[in-house]
Amino acid sequence: MRRTAVRLGRLDLCSPVMPASGCFGPELRTVTAMDRLGAVVTKTVFSDLRSGNPASRLAETRAGMLNAVGIPSPGLTGFRERTLPAYRALGPKVIVSIGGLAVRDYLEVAAGLADEEFAAFEVNVSCPNLEHGGLDIGTDPRAIEAITRGVRERGGDRPVIVKMTPNVTSVAEIARAAEDAGAEALTVANTFVGLAVDLDSRRPLLGNVTGGMSGAAIKPLALRLVMQASRAVRIPVIGCGGIGSVRDAAEFLVAGARAVQVGTANFTRPTVMSEIVEAFPALLDRLGARDVDDLVGTLATA
């Protein structure tokens, strides 16, 4: 396991592979080996109960998919009583993903979870900002700073990872805002906004009209963001977007990520994360790398 161990700020992980928020659940424990995972990440939790979006919530696209699940949430009480204990029982370190529709919502969830036992917060800023006309809250550097600082102050003394939205003009600017506010790592990135059309009815396939695009089709887009973000900051970056094999994971490391998250590929192949971890030593040998860290940010662009 030593060759796959990585360090993200204060977080020591036995492997660089973890699930992406919303694409994993304790339900997978009978299907895949949990002890290979560096961490497990919860679905984003909001402070209040939320019902999520109307059906249809999913649409497959070529080599990818759109989702408009809309983050149904059990609320803080349900999360503390049911969700978190189920995640803790899995074994790996638990990263809790939190969300909100305004800055104060994030601070409320962080404060409400401050006394619970888990390893880190991941702040999902790809939620529509109700105070700013519904654009992703993570497109506003000031909102990013306020959320990062606030969650650090109120959420107990634990690392804060900021999960960036890809729907921005300059990922470097947002990444620096998060770093300046004390983020210990960045996850790059969440889903890209997309649309699927049913030609016969001339209606959108999703109940919510638009949705978040994920899966193999977005891998080049996410790789580009990882390169740009990791070159803009000193804190570690967790790469995410279309990863479905150990080669994909290694490409993200080379582009600048220190760890990776696997989302959509879990649906296609529920054993994929542990298979990636098991395949790392052979790939490292082939690439002449000592360990995973050896690959990080080695992309030669000059």
């Binding site: 659940g25 997978l28 059906a55 649409a59 070529r62 649906f267």
Partner: protein, 268 residues
């Protein structure tokens, strides 16, 4: 989707223990119309599957991102096989039809809550299925028949050729009424007067049959199997919402809370 009443979540009888396997394709044959039958070697799923449950099938392909939910039509625990009957309707099922023995299909299952016949003494069961929906009822029809129920399966399709998945029922001696649109025999008004007072009614595969089943709710236990686009099949992606009316914050999920639901009329 039925709007005259509520879809209640059936109690989970036992914890579902799904397994994942790269299941070898044993056979994949064309039946009739757009329908095919796929046999997979999946011993644990074959042993554990209950009537109404489904599997998620991943066909290895550079264009597909998601597995496809398919009802377990038949199992043979002795040889460790499960059979799926599927209709070719789009890109995934087209690729499924091209599978040959020797290929493997990623198979996750069995999944979902099975049919839950009322625990009373054997009564009369009316199973309403249309198209591919008939396949969700095959195991149930045979189990009830073997347990001493008086079973009538209504198998409906667009054409006589589109009524598939009934041979196991026939072989087991279950009564099957085949109806189709071409001959006009599938009209709901005709199916309303079957002279068969059921104590248990199930429906799968068409809104009209669901409504027909719902009309029995004052005198019978009514259970309906739903479909929705799915990604995980296990209940964690929250993609397969029923959107049904309930008191809960989030509507039930078809994969983990269903696919079989109990219908309760709005007016008791």
């Amino acid at each position: 989707m039925i709007t005259t009443g509520f879809l209640d979540v059936l109690p989970a009888s036992e914890e579902v223990q799904p397994t994942w396997i790269d299941a070898p394709v044993l056979s994949n044959v064309h039946l009739a119309d757009r329908y095919h039958r796929l046999r997979l070697a999946a011993p644990l799923a074959a042993e554990r599957a209950r009537p109404g449950q489904f599997v998620m099938l991943t066909i290895s392909s550079p264009v597909l991102a998601l597995p496809r939910p398919m009802a377990v039509h038949d199992v043979d625990p002795e040889t460790g096989t499960i059979d799926i009957i599927y209709g070719v309707v789009g890109v995934g099922t087209r690729e499924m039809a091209a599978l040959r023995p020797g290929a493997t299909v990623g198979t996750l299952g069995p999944l979902g809550r099975p049919f839950a016949p009322p625990p009373s003494a054997p009564g009369r069961a009316l199973l309403l299925g249309r198209g591919i929906g008939i396949c969700s009822l095959s195991l149930l029809g045979r189990e009830l028949h073997a347990a001493g129920w008086d079973v009538l399966v209504v198998a409906s399709g667009r054409t006589p050729q589109a009524v598939v998945g009934t041979e196991e029922l026939d072989a087991a001696g279950v009564r099957v009424l085949r109806v189709d649109d071409e001959s006009g025999t599938s009209a709901p008004e005709l199916l309303r007067d079957l002279d068969f007072a059921p104590t248990y009614v199930t429906a799968c595969g068409s809104a009209r049959l669901e409504q027909l089943a719902a009309d029995h709710a004052h005198t019978a236990e009514v259970q309906i199997a739903l479909e929705a686009p799915m990604a995980c099949g296990l209940g964690y992606c929250h993609g397969c919402s029923t959107g049904a009316r309930t008191a809960q914050a989030e509507a039930p999920l078809v994969c983990a809370d269903g696919p079989v639901f109990r219908y309760r009329p709005a007016t008791p």
